[in-house]
């Protein structure tokens, strides 16, 4: 079934009787060509592109709970490609380009809204670094714009330009950045993949890998063994847990990141803003809530919930930047588990086990990467070659010293 305005009207006039489930609920087959472990954004996107772009067949996505229940449904919905390093920027720019055509591609309105993202500058050193970054973006074909303090003030007059402890000195803007309705990304990919024959199997937890003679034969699950020619794992915060079943230790720690939404407000914030002197970034959803986040809690956690100090720290950042927020009420706090890698950049690579592939280490930046991550992982699974924009995301870069460390924090995952 194709979605369109016409279809909505037609169904409305005929009692909405024609709508069908967005995806089937199939039972698992005994074996598949490719099994994707993890029904989150990345896993579903991988399956979608495997089927659509790489003409693969007999694909299953297996998910221990309900699809889209992990970080794709728990993030602050921001998309951008404002990275600095060669290993990253082409990939994220590829992702942003995919976002730009995504809805038409998968026939689902995920509300990709290029309202712009603005990273604020509060010091000379920060400006120097942002100029370097902005130039790197342009060199990689992305858009970037340096704003003066006055230009920032024209666009965001209500930010603190009066008594700020760390005054705003300007900003680096990416107009093509913005926000996306996060759940709809998972659903759009799921529906698109399902229409192309992918089996999406919910409530099916992987309990082990069957590995024979160094080759992965499939996965043991709560619903029995599922054989697979290739297994791709895209389980974000659960990466270490899942890959431990294959005997691997990863350069990854799991950390909790809290995200926040306020009560609905009439539109006030045109784009995404990021405070440069504290932990706070914010946008306003189409429903009216201010969606914001800050730093990770900083300790290893699988709990999907955080603690008060970070909530306070984020609120302090918000108030320091936007003093008119004082009477806006925080409605809801939630937590997601971030697969924080050792250099802050992801891994899309084969493993030493034949037929077992890994996608993870997205830190708290996985949402914006969803389309490119899916595409590049599909590329790797289908062709056994890394996609040209993802050649740096190798496992062995740590051992060999080819780190992709945007923040320069070193092997300290909670600082990335």
């Amino acid at each position: 079934m194709r979605y369109s305005g016409f279809r909505v009207i037609k169904e409305a006039l005929t009692g909405h009787k024609g709508w069908r489930p967005a995806w089937r609920e199939p039972d698992p087959q005994p074996n598949y060509d490719i099994v994707i472990v993890g029904g989150g954004g990345h896993g579903l996107a991988t399956a979608y592109y495997l089927a659509k772009e790489f003409r693969q067949h007999r694909i299953a996505v297996i998910e221990k709970g309900w699809i889209g229940g992990g970080n794709v449904g728990r993030n602050t919905t921001i998309i951008r490609s404002n990275y600095m390093l060669d290993g990253n920027e082409p990939f994220y720019e590829f992702s942003l380009k995919l976002w730009e055509g995504l809805e038409q591609d998968f026939n689902y309105n995920a509300m990709v809204s290029q309202r712009g993202i603005l990273n604020l500058i509060h010091s000379d050193a920060q400006r120097d670094a942002f100029i370097r970054r902005g130039n790197a973006m342009i060199l990689n074909g992305a858009d970037a714009e340096l704003l003066s303090r006055d230009q920032v003030r024209r666009e965001y007059p209500f930010l603190n330009f009066n008594d700020a402890r760390f005054p705003i000195q300007g900003g680096l803007a990416q107009r093509r950045g913005g926000t996306v309705r996060h759940d709809a990304v998972a659903w759009g990919y799921a529906r698109g993949a399902d229409q192309r024959g992918v089996d999406i199997i919910q409530n099916c937890e992987v309990t082990g890998f069957r590995i024979e003679n160094g080759k992965c034969m499939g996965v043991e699950t709560s619903r029995g063994f599922i054989g697979a020619g290739k297994v791709g794992v895209a389980v974000a915060g659960n990466s270490s847990r899942v890959m431990a079943m294959a005997g691997m230790r990863l350069p990854i720690e799991s950390h909790v990141l809290q995200a926040f939404v306020t009560e609905g407000l009439k539109p006030v914030l045109p784009g995404v803003i990021t405070f440069g002197a504290g932990h706070f970034y914010c946008s306003q959803s189409d429903k009216g809530g201010l969606v914001f986040g800050g730093d990770i809690d900083g300790y290893n956690s699988y709990a999907q919930r955080g603690n008060l100090p970070v909530i306070e720290d984020v609120a302090e950042g918000g108030m320091a930047l936007f003093p008119g927020l004082g009477r806006v009420r925080l409605l809801r706090v939630w937590g997601g588990i971030m697969d924080m890698s050792m250099d802050g950049s992801p891994i899309i690579d084969r493993t030493d086990i034949d037929g077992l592939y890994f996608n993870g280490g997205w830190c708290y930046g996985g949402f914006k990467a969803t389309p490119a991550s899916g595409w590049c992982f599909a590329h790797l699974l289908a062709t056994d070659q890394p996609h040209p924009t993802a050649t740096a995301y190798r496992f062995d870069r740590f051992e060999r010293g080819y780190l992709i460390d945007e923040k320069g924090m070193g092997a300290q995952p909670n600082l990335h």
Binding site: N107, L146, G264, E316, M319, L330
Partner: protein
């Protein structure tokens, strides 16, 4: 309308307030909602999506409908529940989400279009053409979206934060909470009793039954009086415990001034309390849930308990004639109470065929309300009787009781999942509560007053026993102990829309559509339909939605899922979460010892981390910062300059193994450094990347003073403590930070020694021979003031750093200026400091950016291969030592008067500005008054081999593209003759 008698209001005092442009009167004790109802106002708001007219649904903090914009200007507060706003004189509130007015709202057109605007319709359309989303569709949606508005003016009020500690935190001051507090208080435990209401007592304030032969509210008042006399109990009304965090830490907001027109001078509006408790007793009561039926959202339709509360607590009836619709016995209590208070109850409609009668009204057993009338306020209901006939009743209000949901929100904050309890047809707390928490009273599904009192007392005793505090069960006062009798009934079947989530306009139809489209998991249902995502976070809606979904899937509610809650319990103002850390007080300010003096000089200050440092010192006649900075540099290089460098981190390293320890911390050797000498040191992270640089001076065999960069003072100290305690625990070395203990000035320039000689006491010879470059000593100055002198140079000049105890820092800078007057000593700020270090090619923060190695910095040879110091080994990895590794180089523009932008990338001349041609980047740039040219330093691939080559520094971001020559980064005095002079 206000009833003639009763209610917990002060009828003697009249309060004037305004809503929707009209003035009304109310009394102390009123909420805005009760006062509006007393004035005959039922219409208070509009719903989110269909802009349906709405009145109160509840009488508490779970209100989804009656949201208003309270106050104005810097105090405008959107989405405020009229049901919890304590009335004060002069209160102003405006309706929200309605234009042009509450009564005539243009966007009510959405209601007409509702058949098109079903759950998730927007996911299926607005996709073509792609560019129209941002330009057309989204702006329209956004204009319609949102509830209330803020002014964007800074909040006019202040907020506090604080910390409280107790043995037992009791949340909720209803019957169970009061009884628990009494029990624990008498036992001498440290108790906090917090309640969100301004009047403690919970439901006791809204009921007519008696406890111990007195009115329930009277018993509550007496109990509270006894509690307030106990010094070990802290009573906290107007305090919402909003979150249960790890290890017994609870977040609570006390609204200390919200009931006042404005907070008193110096006083906060609200306080965020972090409550640290050993045990917690949740006595949060229960929330009544509605039943879904056609047009069940009209103003005047509310929960039966709300109707009862308005009549009993506030002596207000929303209408002269009312009806009650129920599936349980508690609805009967509402009917009886209303009748007793003289309100006409047209009928008691009970879905149960075997319901008992209530005297004073007609019982319609086995009946259902199937529709209602009244656009802006209820005028009538249509009832389908047990025999299939319908009957219309003219009523102005309808109380609806679908049963009670235990208020389990806080039990879920650590991912606890409540369990289904058939007895009450509701979810009750299960075993996985936050550690230390127990639940009593209605919150655990014990709905009778007796059970609540007993539960509170017993749970309190148990909690204290856990803590080894002896407590005895009190004698319980007599109270009602009615059993819970309910036959679950969730929604009346029909074709019309029946609301589940009132605010978000989610109806039974939407849940059916979600089911049809496969969004059946509870979380999918919620996200697809927005059920439970309103400002009440599903308190009034989740249960109904879940029940409808269970019916559709043919499963039990328990199989279908559960409803869990996340913090905060009710929405919390951002301001109170930030407390005093706003504006200029966002973070502390650290001032250098010369700050006051620099202020007197008219210095311009800059934030360097938390420090404020003088950036430059403008002089009369100078119109640009460059003029000042150029002058400061020239004066320093020409004669002598002085700069406050106190902010550099200082760490005192002592112990027999101090030298051996530093030898492992720094990548270069330190064990052979002579006493009285200083050495430049580079610290690596364990991954081989440069961490920090500075100097270490050896004051004695077993005593070093290490300096760090300003930014890394704290991380370096932490790192060294890690090495000391965890890596080499048996080394005899002691560390302590002394950053603040010393005021330290750099005195630089050819006349530096001459100037210093005027200050240093004659006993100390600081001639070039006696005190050469890289010497250090403990000396005295100005006739005996203890001081430390280091002959080190960041500027490249003959330079010293002189340190005195901080209290003399101000006096010292004045003395330096005095003594240096004959040399025209010039204070310089961080800008000139930066210029001089770039002229010398010294790396600083821009170069030590966390990705560069010693090799990149041109310090590769410093990394000793003869010892195992931190980071040495991994610095040798292949990727960090490739042939085309970045090298720090100097950059000079072909045209000396053309600026090189920091952040530009380095490209071959003529090469396209694309990433594939990227050769490196500019890290630091400035105008060098010494060379009369702009200069820069930066990292260039294989830069050491490219000296003399011409390249471009391209910055498309800033529209600059500069031809440059690659030179040594040591622009000035590359041989270092000046600093050894």
């Amino acid at each position: 309308m206000r009833l003639g008698t009763g209610g917990q209001i002060d009828r003697e005092t009249k309060l004037s307030f305004r809503f929707d442009g009209r003035y009304y009167k109310g009394h102390p004790g009123d909420t805005l909602a009760s006062a509006l109802l007393a004035n005959g106002v039922r219409l208070m708001g509009r719903s989110f999506k269909y802009h349906r007219p709405r009145g109160v649904l509840t009488a508490g903090s779970d209100e989804p409908n009656a949201l208003v914009e309270l106050r104005s200007g810097g105090r405008q507060e959107p989405n405020t529940r009229a049901t919890v706003i304590e009335l004060f004189d002069g209160l102003r509130a405006e309706p929200q989400n309605a234009w042009p007015s509450l009564k005539f709202d243009a966007l009510a057109i959405n209601d007409r279009l509702s058949t098109f605007l079903t759950a998730g319709f927007y996911y299926k359309t607005f996709m073509w053409p792609a560019a129209f989303w941002e330009k057309l569709y989204e702006p329209i949606i956004r204009r319609a979206a949102g509830l209330g508005a803020i002014t964007t003016k800074p909040d006019s009020d202040a907020y506090d934060k604080g910390f409280l500690h107790c043995d037992l935190l009791i949340i909720g001051a209803g019957p169970s909470g009061l009884m628990a507090a009494l029990t624990a208080g008498r036992a001498g435990a440290r108790v906090i009793l917090a309640d969100e209401d301004f009047r403690m007592g919970g439901r006791l304030n809204a009921e007519t039954f008696s406890i111990s032969d007195m009115a329930a509210s009277e018993w509550a008042t007496q109990t509270i009086a006894e509690l307030s006399a106990l010094p070990n109990i802290r009573l906290m009304p107007r305090t919402t415990v909003f979150g249960a965090f790890d290890h017994g830490i609870y977040g609570a907001v006390e609204r200390v001034s919200d009931h006042l027109p404005v907070p008193p001078e110096g006083k906060p509006r609200q306080i965020l309390w972090r409550i640290y408790t050993q045990r917690t007793l949740l006595c949060a009561g229960a929330l009544e849930r509605p039943i879904a039926f056609a047009n069940n959202d009209r103003p005047g339709i509310m929960t039966a308990s709300a109707l009862r509360a308005y009549v009993n607590r506030w002596a207000v009836s929303p209408a002269e004639t009312v009806a009650v619709f129920t599936n349980n016995d508690d609805g009967h209590r509402t009917a009886a109470d209303l009748i007793a208070r003289g309100v006409k109850v047209a009928a008691l409609i009970d879905t149960r065929p075997d319901a008992a009668t209530v005297s004073g009204t007609e019982l319609l057993a086995g009946a259902q309300v199937i529709d209602t009338t009244g656009r802006l306020g209820l005028t009538g209901i249509t009832v389908k009787l047990a025999n299939g006939q319908t009957r219309k009743l003219a009523v102005g209000a309808l109380g609806v009781s679908g049963g009670w949901n235990p208020n389990v929100a806080l039990t879920c904050h650590q991912r606890g999942r409540p369990a289904w309890d058939e007895r009450i047809a509701g979810f009750v707390p299960a075993g996985d509560l936050p550690p230390g928490m127990t639940v009593a009273g209605a919150a655990e599904g014990q709905f009778s007053t007796h059970a609540a009192l007993a539960g509170g007392a017993e749970k309190a005793v148990r909690a204290l026993t856990d803590l080894d505090i002896e407590a005895t069960l009190p004698v319980l006062p007599d109270s009602e102990d009615a059993p819970t009798r309910i036959t679950p009934f969730w929604h009346v079947k029909g074709d019309k829309r029946a609301w589940l989530d009132f605010q978000n306009d989610v109806t039974v139809k939407d849940v059916k559509l979600a089911h049809q489209e496969g969004f059946r998991a509870v979380e999918h249902l919620k996200r697809y339909t927005t059920l439970g995502m309103a400002t009440d976070q599903g308190k009034t809606s989740n249960m109904g939605g879940l029940a409808v979904m269970a019916e559709l899937t043919g499963q039990t509610i328990a199989q279908t899922g559960t409803t869990i809650f996340r913090p905060p319990y009710t929405p919390v103002a951002m301001g109170v979460l930030a407390g005093r850390s706003t504006g200029a007080d966002f973070r502390p300010s650290r001032l250098t010892p010369s700050h006051h003096w620099a202020q007197e000089q008219g210095a311009v200050f800059v934030e360097v981390g938390q420090w404020l440092r003088a950036q430059w010192f403008p002089r009369p006649g100078e119109t640009t910062w460059r003029e000042s900075v150029d002058r400061e540099v020239r004066a320093t290089r020409g004669s002598v300059g002085v700069c406050d460098v106190t902010t550099l981190g200082k760490i005192d390293v002592q112990g027999r193994d101090a030298a051996a320890f530093l030898n492992r911390i720094y990548c270069n050797g330190f064990d052979k450094l002579a006493v009285g000498r200083v050495r430049y040191g580079l610290m690596l992270r364990e991954d081989g990347i440069a961490f920090d640089d500075g100097t270490a001076g050896r004051l004695a065999e077993d005593h070093f003073v290490v300096t760090t960069t300003t930014a890394n003072a704290v991380p370096v100290y932490r790192h060294m403590e890690f090495a000391r305690q965890c890596l080499w625990p048996d080394m005899d070395v002691q560390l302590i930070s002394t950053t603040e203990a010393w005021a330290q000035y750099a005195i630089a320039g050819p006349k530096a020694r001459k100037l210093l000689q005027k200050l240093v006491d004659p006993a100390f010879d600081i001639s070039n021979e006696a005190f050469p470059f890289m010497a250090c000593a403990e000396i005295t100055i100005c006739n005996g003031c203890p001081a430390r002198l280091f002959r080190i140079s960041f500027s490249g000049e003959l330079a010293y750093e002189l340190a005195v105890p901080t209290r003399y820092g101000d006096a010292l800078i004045r003395r330096i200026m005095e003594a240096g007057a004959e040399f025209d000593v010039t204070p310089y700020g961080t800008e000139a400091l930066g210029v001089m270090r770039i002229e010398k090619g010294h790396a600083a923060g821009n170069e030590l950016n966390g990705t560069t190695t010693a090799l990149n910095l041109g310090l590769g040879r410093m990394v000793s291969t003869k010892k195992d110091s931190i980071g040495t080994l991994l610095s040798r990895r292949e990727g960090l030592t490739t042939a085309d590794a970045l090298n720090l180089v100097g950059l000079r523009p072909k045209d000396p008067q053309v600026r090189i932008p920091a952040g530009a990338h380095l490209l071959e001349k003529g090469a396209k500005a694309v990433a594939a041609n990227d050769l490196g980047y500019v890290t630091s740039a400035c105008y060098s008054p010494t060379l009369g040219s702009y200069i820069a330093i930066g990292f260039l691939k294989n830069g050491q081999a490219r000296m003399g080559e011409s390249l471009r520094a391209a910055s498309p971001l800033t529209g600059e593209d500069v031809e440059i020559e690659i030179v040594s980064a040591h622009f000035v005095d590359p041989e270092g003759e000046r600093l050894r002079a």
